[in-house]
């Protein structure tokens, strides 16, 4: 199948800064892509460009549409959850369901109601009477009942407690995701999503600095726990990062031969958050 999103030479300049700097990437169907970057790196701008919410220069094709010209058509196939509380505060649960059911051609009302039945939400309840977690539950119920091909999540669990966060990703994987769907998620809570991601994209200062699937990441990046006596030898191999734990040094290597590293000490797969910290460490310096 052809790519869900094809971007080439994507740029976006705000008055003060370059938010996207000549970015190119492709996203294939059936993937769960983590778009990870520090604050102000251009994540949200990239998502907005994909959703047709902002203007940009360059080429961008989302599901065969140009988001700049065909946003309303594109939204028939794309769902979007921004960071919590973007549902209008005056709306009631049944109004939200009625509205989406009548406006969205791919909305499955029964599915939505089944999902709502598992929550404490009442049909007459207004969004302004709900907690953040409940608002996300409602939004998720609406979105999961839409048979979309692309789901975009921008910090979907920001400000939620851990129960809601776990439940959110659980529902997403169990009840929503399949090989015909694609999910793009940005979050700062990397640990929570790293198990579900199939692809990883790091973005920094408007540029994509890493774009690989998780298997490739596992092959390319290796952490080695090195005793003090071997540390100099390890440093000679130009590690990305070095940190000290219990008198040992942990080195993170990018693209160094596995056999070569095995001689130095115990090998580990780096966590996405360690990788992120190592890649981004000079960002705020």
């Amino acid at each position: 199948m052809s790519a869900v999103i094809t971007a080439s030479g994507l740029s976006k300049r705000y008055k003060s800064a370059l938010a996207l700097d000549n970015v190119s990437f492709q996203i294939a169907p059936g993937r769960i892509v983590g778009l990870i970057g520090p604050n102000g790196a251009g994540k949200t701008t990239a998502l907005k460009a994909i959703l047709g919410l902002t203007d940009f220069t360059g080429e961008l094709n989302v599901l065969g549409f140009d988001p700049r010209k065909q946003r309303d058509k594109l939204m028939g196939d794309v769902c979007f959850i921004a960071d919590v509380a973007v549902l209008p505060r005056w709306i009631r649960v049944h109004q939200a369901v009625d509205f989406v059911a009548n406006v969205h051609p791919r909305f499955d009302r029964a599915k939505c109601e089944a999902f709502l039945a598992r929550t404490k939400l009442m049909p007459n309840q207004r969004v302004r009477q709900m907690s953040k977690g409940m608002i996300v539950q409602l939004h998720l119920a609406l979105v999961m009942a839409i048979d979309a091909r692309l789901l975009i999540l921008d910090e979907p669990t920001l400000g939620l407690d851990i129960l809601y966060r776990k439940q959110f990703y659980h529902s997403l994987l169990e009840d929503y995701f399949d090989e015909n769907k694609t999910i793009i998620v940005t979050t700062h809570q990397v640990e929570e999503v790293e198990h579900i991601l199939t692809d990883l994209m790091f973005i920094r200062d408007g540029r994509i600095v890493l774009d690989a699937d998780m298997d490739a990441v596992g092959e390319r990046f290796i952490e080695v726990m090195v005793n003090a006596d071997q540390a100099e030898a390890a440093r000679a191999l130009k590690p990305l990062d070095e940190r000290q734990v219990f008198g040992k040094s942990i080195f993170l290597f990018d693209g160094v031969e596995r056999a070569q590293l095995e001689a130095l000490g115990e090998l580990r797969r780096p966590s996405v958050s360690d990788l992120f910290v190592a890649t981004m460490k000079e960002t705020y310096a």
């Binding site: 701008t45 919410l53 203007d55 946003r71 921004a82 009548n102 406006v103 939004h139």
Partner: protein, 322 residues
């Protein structure tokens, strides 16, 4: 079409307070005040021993009336019906004014625009649904309320008089409730056309302003007006400064108040002449109110209003607040 119906319904849900409850409460207060006024009058009358028509005298008076007098009574009764609408019109003006100011701004402020924009609805139909809500939905509700309250008001007057020995049916036959209804409902299409420039301007400010749309919407034309007055710019076009105030500032801001069209229209000589030839409430007849259709002022407003609405649609599409 189904989508558009639901978009309008959405507007009604969100603005139930101003679209529905504001006219209901206004109408209720209006009736209450009238009833209280009548009771006060009755009590005062009784206390001072004034017995109006207790002996059937008033009925006698009506029986003795000639055609001219009858028309005055029916005029009074029709005014009773219109008077409710007068008050509701002022309320409607405020409702539409502030609705338009917030329509494309409130959801940007609370970021729920991200939810609305995640649905397959074009920005053009969103903006259009707000125009229709402002110029059709709100007035239809207000006029319906006006008719209901007007009828009740007429009934109250008639019942009160019947206590004084006047034949209620005879009075009711003198009034023209259906003509009043017809005139009020028929005014709505004219209102749509007349209100367009103001609706367009307010929606444009609503879609464009990063904050304080009210300030922009009001201060911009008023400041321009002050500058024009100060430097006497209108002199360049051989027009008085008041021309600018009346045709740009007031026309741009206050056309959402029903009846302003007829007021301005009445200033224009041809219509004024026509109206002068009539008496009483025939001013309210559609044959008269629709004289406004002949005025270039109306059609220029429609053209400019359409342009402003298109501008609001453009900002709605591309305004990017992050």
């Amino acid at each position: 079409m189904k989508t558009f119906y639901w978009l309008i319904k959405r507007e009604f849900w969100e603005n139930r307070g101003s679209f529905l409850w504001a006219p209901i409460i206004t109408g209720g207060v209006f009736l209450l005040l009238n009833i209280m006024g009548i009771i006060t009058a009755e009590v005062l009358g009784a206390r001072h021993g004034i017995q109006i028509g207790a002996s059937g005298g008033l009925q006698h008076v009506i029986a003795q009336m000639d055609a001219g007098d009858t028309s005055k009574v029916s005029l009074a009764l029709d005014i009773a019906m219109y008077s409710a609408m007068g008050l509701l019109s002022v309320v409607l003006g405020f409702v539409v004014f502030f609705y338009c100011l917030g329509a494309l701004y409130d959801d940007r402020r609370d970021r729920s625009i991200l939810f609305w924009k995640s649905l397959p609805v074009s920005d053009a139909s969103t903006v259009l649904s707000k125009v229709v809500s402002a110029t059709v939905l709100a007035p239809v509700i207000a006029v319906t309320m006006g008719i209901v309250v007007g009828m009740l008001q007429l009934l109250i007057v008639v019942v009160t008089l019947s206590f004084h020995g006047v034949n209620a049916w005879q009075l009711l036959l003198m009034a023209h409730p259906f003509r009043v209804m017809f005139n009020l409902l028929g005014y709505i299409p004219l209102y749509v056309l007349w209100a367009l420039p103001t609706v367009g301007w307010l929606l444009l400010c609503s879609a464009w302003a990063r904050n304080k749309p009210f300030l922009w919407a009001v201060a911009l034309p008023v400041a321009t007006g002050l500058l024009v007055s100060w430097f006497g710019l209108m002199g360049l076009f051989d027009l008085p400064t008041t021309w600018f105030w009346r045709n740009i500032v007031l026309r741009g801001l206050l056309s959402v108040f029903p009846g302003t069209g007829s007021l301005v229209g009445a200033n224009e000589a041809s219509i004024a002449h026509h109206v002068a030839g009539n008496t009483g409430l025939s001013v309210m007849d559609l044959a008269n109110t629709y004289q406004l259709l002949a005025s270039p002022n109306l059609w220029l407003g429609v053209i400019i209003g359409t342009g402003l609405i298109a501008g609001a649609g453009w900002f709605r599409r591309w305004r990017d607040d992050s």
